[in-house]
Symmetry: C2
Amino acid sequence: MQNLNAIPLSSLRTIEVIARNGTLRAAADELGVTPGALSQRLAKAEAALGQVLFTRTSTGLQPTEICAQISPRLTAAIGELSLVVSDVQAIGQNTLTVTVAPIFASRWLIWRIKDFNDLNPEISLRVLPAVDVADLDHSEVDIGIRVGEDPALGAGATKLLDQRVFPVCSPEIAARIKSPDDLFTVPIIRENELLYGWRPWLSEMGLEGRDLSFGPTYADASLCLDAAMTGQGVFMAWETLACDALERGQIVAPFDVRSLTGAVYWFAVRTRSQRNPSVRKFKSWLETELACSVRYWNKQPETGA
Amino acid sequence: MQNLNAIPLSSLRTIEVIARNGTLRAAADELGVTPGALSQRLAKAEAALGQVLFTRTSTGLQPTEICAQISPRLTAAIGELSLVVSDVQAIGQNTLTVTVAPIFASRWLIWRIKDFNDLNPEISLRVLPAVDVADLDHSEVDIGIRVGEDPALGAGATKLLDQRVFPVCSPEIAARIKSPDDLFTVPIIRENELLYGWRPWLSEMGLEGRDLSFGPTYADASLCLDAAMTGQGVFMAWETLACDALERGQIVAPFDVRSLTGAVYWFAVRTRSQRNPSVRKFKSWLETELACSVRYWNKQPETGA
DNA sequence: TTTTGCATTTAGAAAATCTAAACGCGCCTT
DNA sequence: AAGGCGCGTTTAGATTTTCTAAATGCAAAA
């Protein structure tokens, strides 16, 4: 833990933001400084870590292999810090507390909170990443978003979206996959040794019954997605959780088939908060954003072809 | 994510270190600065967050309720950043890569790495938090540490330690527990809705067969431990994972009975690394440290009584 | 009552960081 | 092939932040 004394945390954030944005200018925008300042920070960070983190191209900064490996971890950790800060800042405000699965918080919601805040400056959103299935009515939480086949968190839940999945991997792995058959020759990343989502997808492709290759197993889908980005194999990803990485080009989808798993995104509201107008605003914002995440990627193949 | 522009990450680390150490002097030691500097940093951090984070006592700094809630999350996130940094720094060194469960990394190993580094400066340890059960021999990992009833990661695994569990909770909750019977009147924190470890413990206490109260459910033991610290209920914790929080007084053990779960800590070495002398050094260090973590707390009740 | 251990305050020194502008380099357009 | 555009980098100096060291105040322990 003391090794952080030598590397300022701000350097780590610099790396994370640059890796995610791809150019110094965009990163400088997000951080509210000039590109020159970032260039200096980056040089210092690389010196401190003793590693070259980006190869400079004429169109921006390309993460090196090392950087690509660590940047998802940086994003996750710094994102959690960001949530902690917004939690504290939300105290005493007109707060809407929403609990979501940790992965949904870190891979989707956190990137869109700012947009909600800009549209609704009077509401401060508090995100509680937890698998807390306790009764909403006996909690301090206004809203719960959960994915499952049955309505979650009590009968009052309404449906937000159908869950869909599709395989993702790094561009390098994708180059080895010409036809669906090639899927059986590459490592398949597992979540807790399971193969969630593969059955409906393979069946939709007419490939059921065949055994998939082995591959690394990770404890949660977030680590699996990171593994997919760093070229460890193919992962069957949730549409909503992969969309941002897909947009940034960190992962690609070798096939344009997305399958329904039967699971649904549920939106549950605590009885006491049913009439809170902020809840309605949040829900309609959420529906728009979710639809937008999904719709965008439905269009991609058409534009690409 | 942009809310971090207003609060420097160094402030968050300052808060985390102070909360964990309890006094400015100790925290200043860990950070390598003077107490005066920390006092200023803390004042600035509190101003930026708009919250008082510590009540000043004559013996040190007592975290406020808000601070106690966020500090475990800060510790986890900053600890992960620390691991990422040491991963990068280990590149090109005489590296020993060890994979452990994420919770074991963040709750136990990370706090002891520095000690290992001091004793073995020529070895740089790389910790990979993952539930990767893939064959060690086909990986870049030298060592795997896993907990389970059967030898993990192939037949070459050797036993490190028996796993033991015991209930922990915040001092406030503990005050409500006078006798074992009171356990059935307080919320019981669940990991994934399960009650891991309760059966052997209740049976050892002669309390089997009765139903425990409900309580919040979290996705992993780390969140459960946080929940226990913040007074959300009682959690059946692994000895090794609770020992540091116990030592710091963040949680207490209302009963001095620890039960064997039947699970064992396994130490597995990749074939290619069997003869690596660093592996032996790491193993013997690990055994000493593990024994020390456990022995210390066996003594506590005697000293306390 | 004295001592000890703690956090805080202050002033000035030291260090880190930023901005603005000039610059060099590829790529794309013309 | 020339010009323009967008990119990151460099520089110098100003600015801001952060630190140290020492003095101070406070409360509990001896």
